[in-house]
């Protein structure tokens, strides 16, 4: 098995992971907003969600567009791809888990703020891995 995979292929797989993960959390948050889970402070919940998910999602989409426009046939280290995919999945599960955990507290916004304590380091690690994934490519 090759130790390198196509950049385009890797990026699309990561994009699927992120789009699916973000979509699931988004639907849940949307449902919670409509159910008045956060009362009139729903903007705080959305602000939390947007700062949690959107920056990396923007990076992914930007990279995809760049890849589509350049059309190069670069490859990337498979281990970097696996690391990025694993960290991304873990991070998205954490985000979804935080939303689920609001069912067990009377102070959901407080819970979401507290969750930043462990989400932020994971977010930083995931961003680093994705960054390394994108810069580790080389022309085949």
């Amino acid at each position: 098995m090759s130790d390198r995979i196509s950049v385009a292929q890797g990026q699309w797989r990561l994009a699927y992971i992120w789009l699916a993960g973000a979509a699931i959390s988004l639907v849940l948050l949307l449902t919670q907003t409509m159910g008045q889970k956060f009362g009139d402070q729903y903007d705080k919940a959305w602000s939390w969600f947007l700062t949690t998910v959107v920056p990396i999602l923007t990076l992914m989409i930007g990279a995809l567009v760049y890849q589509a426009r350049s059309g190069d046939d670069a490859t990337v280290d498979r281990r970097m791809f696996l690391l990025s995919a694993a960290l991304s999945s873990f991070y998205l599960v954490l985000v979804f888990g935080v939303l689920i955990s609001t069912a067990f507290t009377s102070a959901p916004l407080e819970r979401m703020t507290q969750a930043q304590l462990w989400l932020s380091p994971t977010h930083a690690l995931t961003s680093s891995a994705l960054g390394a994934f994108f810069v580790s490519k080389k022309d085949s």
Binding site: Q36, G39, D40, Q41, T102, F104, S106, E110
Partner: protein
């Protein structure tokens, strides 16, 4: 040579609650005794009106606020300032008008959800009764409702009345005390079924609260109010902390008057998220239901 106007500013009340109103007055004159146009500016809050007398509506935030008035003529511009302190409900110890009894007086109350005239036979049996007898009768009702002295505070209302303020009480949608009764933080259940989990996931943990103030007075209810102020659960907790434990013996001896009555003032609050519960402007629970559900008097005795 023309000189700048001379000015003076004052406020009808230098300390008011959040959203309270004070009237500001300024006089400006110059050497020619002309009528000068005044302009008002405030560091916060809202100025209503124009001219010599205006109203200033305080902001929600506590603090000392400066309000400026200025007037100009050919000689220059003059400015004067007045400071108004905005503070939440804080009981002030004040001597009653006739100095008979010194006791912590009930501060002006924010707008409330409802008030209910408690039937005379339950509290005031005769117009000659002393305040002590009425107080004891109310204490008996409070004990029946399992509201101890720790959950109440007593204030004087003028020199011939008093008020008993109860702790912020957690209630259900029917006014019945809910668990935990005296906590403002709602108890979070552990969902045991998928339906409960889904409900808790999507909906906020509800929290409904009330404060009952039993006022024995011959004064009008409007005289107890601080106009245009909204109650907060925090303010009510402060009210509870700053009152007296019991009715002073001097006040217990005060004889009744014919127009004395007992009014139950009820504040209701509702929490829809994890912020502080907000005051309700109306309630679907009536006064008699509140008092009966709290356990103060049987429902049948409250028409």
């Amino acid at each position: 040579m023309q000189q700048a106007p001379t000015m003076d500013c004052s406020a009808s009340q230098s300390t008011i609650p959040p959203s309270g109103v004070t009237v500001l007055t300024s006089s400006a004159s110059d050497t020619n005794n002309r009528v000068l146009t005044l302009s008002w500016t405030a560091s916060a809050g809202t100025i209503e009106g124009t001219g010599r007398d205006v109203s200033w509506v305080a902001p929600q935030k506590e603090g000392a606020y400066l309000i400026y008035a200025s007037a100009s003529n050919e000689g220059g511009t003059s400015t004067c300032a007045v400071t108004v302190n905005v503070v939440r409900l804080v009981a002030a110890t004040a001597a009653p008008p006739d100095n008979r009894v010194a006791m912590t007086q009930l501060p002006p109350l924010p707008d409330w959800t409802l008030d209910y005239l408690v039937p005379e036979q339950l509290v005031i049996k005769s117009s000659e009764e002393t305040l002590g007898a009425i107080y004891d009768r109310l204490r008996t009702a409070l004990s029946r409702a399992q509201i101890s002295n720790d959950e109440t505070a007593v204030y004087g209302v003028g020199s011939d009345g008093f008020a008993i303020v109860t702790h912020v009480e957690h209630i259900d949608d029917h006014g019945v005390p809910a668990d935990p009764r005296w906590s403002i933080q709602p108890a979070q259940r552990i969902p045991t079924t998928l339906a409960e989990l889904w409900s808790d996931l999507i909906h906020a943990t509800p929290g409904r609260y009330r404060v009952i103030i039993l006022v024995v007075t011959s004064r009008s209810l409007n005289s107890l109010k601080a106009p245009r102020t909204q109650a907060t659960a925090q303010g009510m907790s402060t009210l509870l902390r700053q009152g007296e434990d019991t009715l002073p013996s001097e006040l217990r001896q005060v004889q009744g008057t014919a127009d004395r009555r007992c009014v139950a003032v009820v504040y209701e609050f509702q929490r829809t998220n994890d912020s502080e519960p907000k005051a309700l402007e109306s309630s679907d629970i009536g006064g008699p239901t509140h008092l009966a559900a709290a356990g103060l008097w049987p429902k049948g005795d409250l028409p």
